[in-house]
Subunit: 235 residues, 3 copies
């Protein structure tokens, strides 16, 4: 999952030329879509390339907090969106209500929901992460995202960007790995997850220009994972 936070139309084409084949889905970061002048044309470029897109959860939250959920559903239709994110990174709502949003939206689009706050001070215990993820999957989420922001310094990471390893281990005892997208904007974070879960682990918030570098890490063709996939005995 690559994060587009304001590419021009030509830059979108350039990204697809270079890394489209390595990209499963593109998120238009947080509410940047709201101030993107070329939104329809951009979405058409991604669509023509066969890459699905969705609006970042902050846009959903901006409508939800204003009691405009139905307006948001119309926005999704207006732009022919096939995916949507439901998150509560910037708002505080009852989890039942969040799951209700997921339930309703999942009748309209494929829902990705995000767990974790954008506020570095709000830290959940592992059992809480698992409970929230399970409830959201049950409510209809196709994948759950583990929050990290563009910076990679909240949620599943410490302020320094270091992975909360115990948290990740515990989540993985209860939630199927293929159901989770780990936001991992920093190289060390990508390397850590690839070493733990293999070349095809779902990673998110990848900057467009980092998609090729990430692919080399997945393939064991960068120093960081060069040894990891190489079975020297077989050579």
């Amino acid at each position: 999952m690559v994060m587009d936070k304001g590419l021009s139309l030509r830059q979108t084409e350039d990204f697809i030329e270079v890394a489209g084949v390595h990209t499963d889905i593109v998120k238009l970061g947080w509410a940047t879509s709201f101030v993107t002048p070329n939104l329809k044309e951009k979405l058409a470029i991604y669509r023509d390339a066969g890459i699905p897109t969705y609006f970042g959860g902050t846009l959903f939250e901006a409508f939800a907090i204003r009691n405009q959920f139905d307006d948001y559903r119309r926005v999704l239709d207006q732009f022919n969106m096939e995916y949507a994110e439901v998150s509560d990174g910037s708002i505080t709502i009852e989890h039942d209500l969040k799951c209700e949003f997921i339930r309703k939206l999942s009748t309209q689009v494929t829902v990705i929901s995000e767990v974790g706050s954008k506020d570095a001070a709000k830290i959940f215990a592992p059992y809480k992460w698992i409970k929230l993820m399970n409830a959201e999957i049950e409510a209809g989420s196709w994948k759950v995202i583990a929050e990290a922001r563009e910076g990679g310094n909240v949620g599943i990471y410490r302020g320094s960007g270091e992975v909360r390893e115990g948290l990740v281990d515990e989540i993985l005892t209860q939630i199927p790995e293929e159901t989770i997208i780990w936001e991992a904007p920093q190289k060390e974070q990508q390397v850590w997850f690839i070493k733990l879960l293999g070349a095809n682990v779902n990673l998110g918030n990848i900057a467009p220009a980092e998609t090729i570098p990430l692919e080399t890490i997945r393939l064991g063709l960068r120093g960081d994972t060069f040894d990891h996939f190489l079975n020297l005995d077989k050579l």
Copy 2:
């Protein structure tokens, strides 16, 4: 104020497509204009988009220190510049002489002058910042810029990038807010000034690719300011 430190012609067009409407003015960072091969064409692209431009102060200083101020005035005419920066970030000159440069240039172009050294070791007391800013405004500056460099780690910031809050508060008791452009290349710095002075605060040294993200912060559509402008009682 966005800083262009070497965009190609196509990249300039891409930037304008995406963020031209959110940009008041573009600075060609420090003396990069001097080594930009496509300078005339680039300036024409900005001009056609209605976005004024100016050369970074270091170019002015490079001429001034060589006693070529009149040559610099000819350069400004040669490129039909309507704005110019007067600064002393890399040179040491009497402040009276700096004000004399401002006075002379302001008969030719709209002058933006910059206060603060690029040298992290040169720290002024608040009363000095105020005195310098006032004298430069009186000499003819349209706006004064509070120095931070591209990195955002000198002048009004500590080496860590943290705002010198007391300094900013004190400056604001004496200098009209609309007369100041705060260089704020880092996201946390932008957030800090927007929370202090509102959505329309003058910010500078914004990287082209960060213009859309900044606009979402101004609008309360990113986690950092999501709550700040939202009057939940009204909902």
Copy 3:
């Protein structure tokens, strides 16, 4: 030496438009060339601009460790490469064998060899750096590269990015300066080498968008070196 880690064809043209004239050679970073869909076209664009290119050493290492050195030689021919890098940043091989690779490859292309590990934990004493560099030059290397990675935080730098000054000084007592390319992705590292060795020092791993900024540092047209080349007595 500029590092291209996945530019599109248009971005390659844009880079050349802006900074081609300031660029001696381009490295396709580590093994990114292996996952670049437009490789032949990209190499043709650089060739037409008169800028030589080479594949990062990690690609060589990926072939070498699989006992496919002859295949690598065919790859170089297939893409009409005139330069190649021999490195051991991610593999552990006898230095005699590395020199043998250099010797063989230098009959086919101009060889650049790299000294230093990508592993931050592997630190060599200065005499070892000198011994390795001398042996590689003798084996046929045109230039030797002092390793730093894309991040600039290993090899000749500390984890913080700070230069290992004693190491550099000692290397320079034994190896001709013009034979060394110093990887220097961070601005402070570039400034440090330019102050030590002058405007034309060989620097590597420069990000495409940093080529114009670097040129201003070389020319004394950025704050960091503004005073350094300026003989004020002559003015």
